[in-house]
Symmetry: C2
Subunit: 354 residues, 2 copies
């Protein structure tokens, strides 16, 4: 496995209080950097002290958002070891995002090696308290100082890491969501299946409006028909209707979530029927009103699963499972977190011990 040169930070930061960790605000002592230069390819992978990036004001990332990212976590297992969850899925997905954004492909094995080595260097930052983890954020940005709208010739691949607290500090409380009828996050033919910055920029306004109205997230509809459900906030979404788990098919505007994929694989292994298909907001709300919507939840690396307790769509309001987390949602949460933190066995070989 590739071993990168490490330049150690002169002074290490004090570790934060594990009870006070806020997502994405405290970063560790080091980061991984690798450069891309046209003609030369990716080169000079290295671990260096965490520090600002100095870029020309004309760097393309500032103007044309040629940028992609990933998100995964390192978990502290009971034996004191550290493990990753399906990290190669993230590496493959960043390359799929790169392809859409005309960013050169990353070398997959070496990219995984970079993630592993950085986490080993930052090992003391992987918190041990239940539910905590080290969040890993790989990203690529276009740095060519040029204002032409073209693929850049120069990129930086960077990995930063930050310790994160337990997502659920006071038990798992189902959230209120509402169907967004105005703003669109992604459309067929666009970039919805990638983790490119532009998708998130487009989603901010609806998210802020939802929060102002007391909702935790928005339920996105497709951009073509404005009828089919796509995702919930920055999560995939799954519904248990009449005993079957239904989740929007990956039609190009939905992010292929790794938690979603893992939920589907677990559910199938348990004999629960799963359908990946188109589902309209109408079908969903009709099912809820007919008492057939048994459970609903978002899935993603941050929350693992996030049960939905209440949904609004214009004048229609429904509650799900009396506002309580459903039994299957709970079982998925327990199983996935058990595998991720190494407290239950991993029959699928999803974890990678460092």
């Amino acid at each position: 496995m590739k071993e990168y040169p490490v330049q150690r930070a002169a002074a290490l930061k004090p570790l934060p209080d594990p009870d006070m960790l806020v997502f994405g605000k405290t970063f560790t002592d080091h980061m991984f950097l690798m450069d891309y230069t046209a003609g030369q390819g990716w080169h000079d992978g290295r671990i260096v002290p965490y520090a600002p990036l100095a870029l020309e004001p004309s760097a393309m990332v500032f103007h044309y958002a040629q940028e992609v990212f990933e998100g995964l976590k390192a978990y502290r297992s009971p034996d004191g070891g550290v493990q990753l969850f399906r990290p190669m899925e993230n590496v493959r997905r960043i390359n799929s995002s790169c392809e859409r954004m005309c960013i050169p492909q990353l070398p997959e094995e070496d990219t995984l090696a970079a993630i592993e080595q950085l986490v080993r260097v930052e090992e003391r930052w992987v918190p041990a308290k239940p539910g905590t983890s080290l969040y890993i954020r790989p990203f690529v940005i276009a740095t060519t100082p040029s204002l032409g709208v073209h693929a850049a010739h120069d990129y930086i691949f960077c990995i930063i890491t930050c310790p994160v607290g337990a997502y659920y500090k006071e038990g798992i409380n189902p959230v209120r969501i509402y169907v967004e009828n105005q703003d669109v996050r992604a459309v067929r033919g666009g970039t919805g299946y990638t983790k490119c910055g532009g998708n998130y920029a487009a989603s901010i306004r609806a998210g802020e409006r939802a929060e102002e109205q007391g909702y935790a997230q928005v339920l996105w509809l497709d951009g073509v028909h404005r009828r089919y459900i796509e995702e919930v906030g920055s999560m995939n979404v799954l519904f248990k209707i009449g005993g079957t788990v239904i989740t929007p098919a990956l039609t190009g505007s939905v992010l292929p979530g790794i938690t979603r994929k893992s939920c589907i694989e677990l559910l199938k292994s348990w004999g629960v029927p799963v359908e990946e298909r188109l589902i309209t907001a109408e079908e969903l709300f009709d099912a809820a009103e007919a008492g057939r919507l048994e459970e609903a939840f978002g899935s993603g690396t941050a929350a693992v699963v996030s049960p939905i307790g209440e949904m609004g769509w214009g004048e229609r309001h429904v509650t799900v499972n009396g506002g309580q987390i459903g039994a299957l949602t709970r079982k998925l949460y327990d199983t996935l977190t058990g595998i991720q933190w190494g407290t239950v066995s991993d029959p699928f070989g999803w974890t990678l011990k460092l």
Copy 2:
């Protein structure tokens, strides 16, 4: 008018050869910077030496592309003066982009004052050779070092400038374009009407593919029906069909171009009928095949107008006006460039002399 403090560069760069100017690669000696801090608003507007921006790797612009930009030019008039073309339109449009991106509104008068003052400071960079100009690039980026998907609390507003050569060095040669059937640039409910980075990132792949196949630009179709014409590359598009100029209506997914608006106003003042409406690729190609498509051109700050000589759409190929620039396109080009460079009178009050 607001006057910002100026920190002069210690050494000034040599001016480039006006015959060798490439768009967007050579930047001037100074730039304008202004900071936004939540609670404090926009503050500390200043002109400083052109230099790299140092941002935290976790700065939101690198991850969620919360960023908007503008593009306008300063023109050297025959009397040796320098003038801008409808700059307040750009200021208003950046604020419309900011609104969609949840970026705080810029103070409009002070933003215009910043553009004016920077151009005055960089006056020696405004080239005098026919067709050359100083391109002005205002942009805003989110700098808060935080990975949560939310509107940032901190932003930088920056203006950089670069001298640009004549767009048409060897006369105006009409270009070949083709209808993009796969990738989508923008969709109703999305961000198409803004100059946010994500729109351009989404458009790069189709542009690169078009170039590989010998086309200069892509003709974008709407994301919902994939039938209606929206724009051509990074320009608006206008067609003269049976004596009437038709241009796609501003339905939310099309950028409201200032050149487009100026063309419409000029055409109307000349008594040429103009329709802003939906137009399908089918209608366009049918008109071309029936010999009714008299002229076709893109409009934008870079090229002013860019005549289209040939169009492809799957198996269908048509030429426009025998591959020559049309008379009305030529008249628009001459009039607009005349007003911009101050060689013809400006009855509309579009120019702002510095």
